[in-house]
Subunit: 574 residues, 2 copies
Amino acid sequence: MSRRTRNILFIMCDQLRADHLSCYGHPKLHTPHIDALAARGVIFDNAYVQSPVCGPSRMSYYTGRYMHSHGVSWNFVPLKAGEMTIGDHLRPLGVRSVLVGKTHMRGDASGMSRLGIDPDSQVGVRIAECGFDPYERDDGIHPYSGHDPDPSYHRYLREHGFQGDNLWEEWANTVVDKDGTFRSGWYLRYSNLPARIPAEHSETAYTTGRAMDFMREAGDQPWLCHLSFIKPHWPYAAPAPYAGMYTPEDALPVVRSDEELRDPHPVYAAMTHHRVSRTFAQPGIRDAVMVGYMALVKQIDDEMGRLFAFMQERGLLENTMIVFCADHGDFLGDHWLGDKELFHQPVIRTPLIICDPDPRADATRGTRCQALVEAVDLAPTFLDVHGGNPVPHVMDGRSLRPWLFGKPPAQWRDIAVCECDYSFQDARIELQQPPIESWMRMAFDGRWKYVLCEGYRPMLFDLQSDPQELHDLGASEAPEHVDQRRRLHEALFQWARRPRQRVTVSDELIESTEVQARISENGILIGYADEADLVAQRKLFKPRYASHNPLVKETLDRLTREPYLAHAQEGTGA
Amino acid sequence: MSRRTRNILFIMCDQLRADHLSCYGHPKLHTPHIDALAARGVIFDNAYVQSPVCGPSRMSYYTGRYMHSHGVSWNFVPLKAGEMTIGDHLRPLGVRSVLVGKTHMRGDASGMSRLGIDPDSQVGVRIAECGFDPYERDDGIHPYSGHDPDPSYHRYLREHGFQGDNLWEEWANTVVDKDGTFRSGWYLRYSNLPARIPAEHSETAYTTGRAMDFMREAGDQPWLCHLSFIKPHWPYAAPAPYAGMYTPEDALPVVRSDEELRDPHPVYAAMTHHRVSRTFAQPGIRDAVMVGYMALVKQIDDEMGRLFAFMQERGLLENTMIVFCADHGDFLGDHWLGDKELFHQPVIRTPLIICDPDPRADATRGTRCQALVEAVDLAPTFLDVHGGNPVPHVMDGRSLRPWLFGKPPAQWRDIAVCECDYSFQDARIELQQPPIESWMRMAFDGRWKYVLCEGYRPMLFDLQSDPQELHDLGASEAPEHVDQRRRLHEALFQWARRPRQRVTVSDELIESTEVQARISENGILIGYADEADLVAQRKLFKPRYASHNPLVKETLDRLTREPYLAHAQEGTGA
């Protein structure tokens, strides 16, 4: 069989809800190209991210580690220099891992300085790019805010004749009202208006084109290309013709109930007070946003079509695993919330489609997998594809390839875990919580969703009887609810105490070594009573270690000669 | 007041039980010099280490972080490159931190290689020395086993006329039997015999001398000297005259009962099967070891006398905080165990004496402090002494200076936590546990000691009714015991889930920043409905951030002009 997986195209959308793809059930928003990918691969119906926030979620994808392990708890928190990412794991296997698009990563300048690493060195640049080699970095949004003030997207627009001081702001993020008035794409009310930028020069198209450039230039070295779209993340400004494709009637109905606001959980309540939540509750806002959001998704789907056709022409579909996923979803007004910082399904359940050209994956093409999978499973999957040994002492996730090959592992996880540090949010200020107490952690078993909130009562949702998550049972005294909370609380403890920082020694090394025997055979004689004891024990030695060092053998020989006497050399003390 | 603390002498003994100092109550072993230090400072009666094993415990002392945080779970596990130690924290404050003696640290070669750090560079050398600058490294024990094959102690012995291939083995670790026969100091049966090495050239004396050398040479820069003795760790070979000072009758009686071996906890049982435990149970072995152990402690006390007199002559007692502690204790046959890898008091309760010359500490001189303190409190204390801001996002411990100054903090910890990874022990092999499940964690509140063992029932001891810890209540169904186990189990969960890896952003920075306001003022406009919304919000801005970047102000000005129209420059798309 000629099909062999040698490359990985790791596509990530930002803030894309699973339910906004037609293969995940959206009734009006048709995404035929993504659906076609799914038909060639596997749809994971229960894929969860490790954090509802871009930065932490992405670091979990890149490291295969929970936020609790890698420590990046929000967007401005640098991944500490030394944390291994997928690029670091694949590099020794001869794989080139590149970034095309967004990562939302800030380099750990202080760590680099302490370790004497020049930020402009190859290692320094990788640290600032999440371990990827740079190819095209574009974090989108406002280019003043610590991002590259003149990203290559600006240079591209200039080359294509666009003019202005801040081309992103003035073209990609400016929309045109019906009367020709320019409006800022930041304003949610105008999300239904077309962006000034023509579709073919928009961020989504530009980024796709850069991935094609990479594939053209990649040569023979196996690669992992992390194609990371900024959209459909806000600003929700979509270009024509997408901006006009959908009406508010095409949108999924908003999911919220007045009951949610009666005696709400304090952290939830504080989040409904965030500006973005209040804005989404204003008349007309959600309708406008849904039009823009659907348009942006539709455009991504078209770009996927263009990209996959390009890859097919070049024979890349035959040897490239394609992963399509998102860093998290978007409340879009559901549950009286905007943006993303809680654990409801629209935010933490994300699309995950994997198409593996390996013939062993033929068994599952076009199927849906119901296993509880997590963002941390991607890095172990990539390592698996490239033939690396699993590194469970580093990565919290597990390879998904057994699922792709139709050979599910005998044991799999019972809960998905998602974490949120709201220290950086106004909710913390409103609640006057210290940062270290501004944490929430979710354990979800596919039916019961338990949320442990430091300093407050937990939340609990039963997705079987309440699939829309409108009834918080966190304070319910019904015995079943008390039991479920207790069970998931304990499951979260098991999760929390799992050792995750002994990253410098592998389980494999420990299991393959009789450490104590090795120590003895190295001449460190712990707990031996006397010569006879060592003589007896020595017969049981497998002297593979000591044999590396003839001095050790000589010493042991001397020490087991009874009595140890004549051969101690006679020197004289001063 | 002229007394001001500008230096820190951080003295650590290896494997020294608290109850083997007369100031901690040993009836026969008099340690007048250490007692005199205690009389000038504070004795901490409830000081606990974070692991019963050298390497992990030391890394907790050096980093101020639990084993769960720093990841070094046993002796051969390198501290990952990037973890900050006390040397890293003090260096920016102008303090030189040096190591004199043992650290039991292996450098993270793979991490350094990945980060492009030359192991021979200054940074590389520090990484291999736990963040200290090297002065005198001597990890003792067998110099073949990955340790320096020709340590400077060997060179010293050669210079003083000692002869041999392996001077440590042949002099420091060889004892002389009554008939003149040489015996190896490794054998426990001969621990009561004098070492060949004269006391003044023994490791303890040599290491003390090197600390004096450092103080002579240190100059004006404030320093932290980590004086780290190898003794009274095994081999228990003490030189004359110490070797002859004590008899087995002077030793504390062995603490063990037959009941402990009836229906024992499986992990405990496996540890009683370790060779060292079986050897300690043989007739005569403990008697011999106690003679050697007490002798080694007595020698350390005499060396402390020599050192403190030296410091007094040079006026160093006036400006140097002196800390005397241990990395853990030693079972010495108690509980049918040898060595150290469980959580009984003889192992995890360690001496901690702090003498701070600061006049504010005059209030507590000669007193005993009953607070539950931990090894992780030392690094924060040292940072405090040198005027550094607390770093609770990095260090798990807290400064002990308030206790020294007689101003106890309003809130203090409720439990001490100690962790043990027995992956590297024969117990794991006997129990056939995978490494990730070979963990035990203790929560001790001063009375109840709870031990959570992965895969097994917990242990529980009530030190009020059972101060010798002979009755494991881990399986007891008495309601009080069930309640205490549940309470400490939950306390351990609170401890385990505390975020400890967000080390690149401080709590202080988060608390001092209205992050969301800052984001808006930087031009990232999340959740604004329209121009009027931004106009209204903008009046509430404290435009300190935007003001750093005039472009942001211009953009915001333009975006709040209603309608945003005329100033968007007219370029033309390609």
